[in-house]
């Protein structure tokens, strides 16, 4: 059984995937993921009629998103994987949206990064990205979208779509679908290093000038 977590955005979500059956909880809590997450996981386990030892794989959304949110999820996921001695898989927000909206036409996943910025990644289809994830200013964002991309998803999807003629917004959710995180986690290789957050933004800090 796989346990999936996402605390990167407004939602706090968890799911248990057992073969094809998925039990999930997804709540738009805005903030306070740290207080909410463990209780939600335990409730989902109960509904799935699962005990901790039944879980043999963890999947966790790695962002981008709120820095604190990313760390709440990943610290929990990595702690659980350590406690259960099982693999832990990271799934990005972009991969989750792309998987959920797999189709023949290219897709742009765009997330509102606040401070007048957008995080985005474009996909040819569910399995093939067109470029690495990046963070860019809202003004310059539409230029980062290749011409043939006309489907948009994510919290900044609508905003971006207004700048592209003929664009269609297929999923404006502020958080990625937890089912997609679970299914991608189940399909992933397990021999990778523990997942790291996808911050896409350096910490605010200035290198000190010479003293005096």
């Amino acid at each position: 059984m796989l346990l999936a977590l996402d605390t990167t955005g407004l939602f706090c979500s968890s799911a248990v995937l057992d073969g094809h059956s998925l039990i999930e909880a997804s709540e738009n809590i805005g903030r306070g993921h740290a207080e909410h997450l463990m209780a939600q996981i335990e409730a989902v386990l109960l509904r799935a009629d699962a005990q901790w030892p039944d879980i043999d794989r963890i999947a966790c959304c790695t962002g981008p998103g709120s820095f604190t949110g990313l760390r709440v999820g990943l610290a929990t996921a990595r702690g659980l994987a350590l406690a259960l001695n099982c693999p832990c898989i990271g799934v990005t927000v972009f991969e989750a949206f792309a998987f959920a909206h797999a189709g023949s036409a290219p897709l742009c996943v765009a997330m509102d990064a606040k401070r007048d910025q957008i995080w985005l990644q474009c996909f040819a289809d569910a399995n093939r990205s067109l470029a690495e994830p990046c963070g860019i200013t809202s003004a310059g964002a539409s230029e980062a979208v290749p011409e043939r991309v006309a489907r948009f998803a994510g919290s900044a999807g609508e905003m971006l779509a207004t700048k592209v003629s003929g664009a269609e917004v297929i999923d404006p959710s502020p958080s990625p679908p937890i089912a997609a995180i679970a299914r991608l986690g189940a399909a992933a290789r397990t021999d990778l290093a523990p997942p790291k957050p996808l911050y896409l933004r350096a910490p605010d800090a200035k290198v000190q000038q010479a003293a005096r």
């Binding site: 820095f67 910490p203 003293a211």
Partner: protein, 366 residues
């Protein structure tokens, strides 16, 4: 009983396993004590950058826990409890520690203790020496400068605090003004060895005043003036400033402590123990000063080894042992928040003490 401790409140990622016996005043045994310092990560910025610290904690904590368990030759199943620092400190790091600890405790169904970082410092002398209550504690670190009366587990009275900078902060700022690398405390101590403590008449803020509180920002200003005077700083000038600064600090500490000791003596009489903790307690010159003070007043001085004076997880695990054997479990009511994350970036050890303006980098919050 065996307890795993986790500490991520500032710039050290740490995990440790400590064994305690059931009997109340016997010392503990440190089975492992792993620390990963982030000093190098923060050095270019001249101080701890919270977001950099939080990122580094997440990156390292799970493997630090594994290595602490391995070194102690134990496993999560064998633990009696898990203890984690939930404040005071930087929220980003505290969250990483708290979530990790909660995950471990949930899966293995272990009691989880949310520990106040300062309580860890306050109880270290019992881990190392089995010191009986009560005793007086001087806590002097980069974030805190306090004199505390330690009456028992969970029973702390804050007698004094800094009203502005923490003492370690004063050392660090002095070093910065002199162009010495971060963290400055050890650098200042080293430079002071070759200087004259009488070269500069730096102020002794609040000395002789009828208060136990301390103040170090005036001292910093005086150092700045002394730095700006000469055309150019050379090693001799730096040494003199450091020696004079350290002398002033020693005088202030001795003056305050002497008053605190008098107060303690009228309350408790014979059992006179002073414990020092925190990074600044590693300073040999200051230690020597306090030794003399204690000798003169027939007090015993307990100074845990440096590695246990600065931030570490053994002291957090030990606080867990103390709470476990005292039956002081986390409750939601007292705000230590067993069921919640309960991270508390501001968390005074003495809940009854009034907070002071300023009060150091973490002091006002603590």
């Amino acid at each position: 009983m065996i307890v795993l401790g986790i500490e991520t409140s500032c710039d050290e990622t740490a995990a440790a396993v400590v064994r305690g016996s059931e009997s109340v005043d016997s010392p503990g045994e440190i089975l492992s004590n792993r620390i990963l310092s982030q000093i190098a990560d923060h050095a270019p910025f001249g101080g701890v950058v919270p977001e950099i610290a939080a990122r580094a904690h997440l990156e390292a904590l799970d493997s630090i826990v594994v290595s602490a368990l391995e070194e102690a030759d134990t496993s999560l199943t064998q633990l009696d409890a898990i203890a984690v620092t939930t404040g005071p400190g930087l929220a980003g790091g505290l969250i990483v520690g708290a979530m990790t600890a909660r995950a471990l405790a949930a899966v293995h169904d272990k009691p989880l203790f949310s520990i106040n970082h300062l309580e860890g410092h306050a109880l270290t002398a019992r881990l190392t020496d089995g010191l009986a209550f009560p005793y007086l504690l001087l806590l002097v670190s980069g974030g805190h400068t306090q004199i505390l009366l330690v009456r028992g587990v969970g029973q702390y009275e804050r007698w004094a605090t800094t009203i502005d900078d923490a003492l370690g902060e004063a050392f660090d700022k002095t070093a910065k003004l002199l162009g010495l690398p971060y963290p400055g405390g050890p650098q200042v101590e080293m430079a002071a060895k070759n200087g004259s403590p009488q070269a500069h008449a730096f102020p002794r803020p609040l000395s002789g005043r009828d208060t136990l509180d301390m103040s170090f920002s005036g001292l910093k200003t005086a150092v700045r003036k002394a730095v700006l005077e000469p055309q150019e700083l050379d090693d001799n000038i730096i040494a003199d400033i450091c020696a004079s600064f350290q002398q002033a600090v020693g005088d202030v500490l001795a003056d305050r402590l002497e008053r605190a000791m008098q107060r303690y003596e009228t309350q408790f009489g014979a059992e006179r123990h002073l414990v020092i903790a925190g990074g600044v307690a590693a300073n040999a010159a200051l230690r020597h000063r306090l030794e003399t003070l204690c000798e003169d007043r027939s007090w015993s001085l307990c100074a845990p080894p440096s590695a246990l004076c600065t931030d570490n997880a053994a002291m957090i695990a030990w606080a867990g042992v103390e709470r476990l054997r005292a039956g002081l479990f986390d409750t939601d009511e007292d705000g230590s928040g067993g069921g919640q994350t309960g991270i508390r970036p501001r968390w005074p050890l003495d809940m009854h003490a009034k907070s002071r303006v300023g009060a150091g980098r973490k002091g006002a919050k603590a």
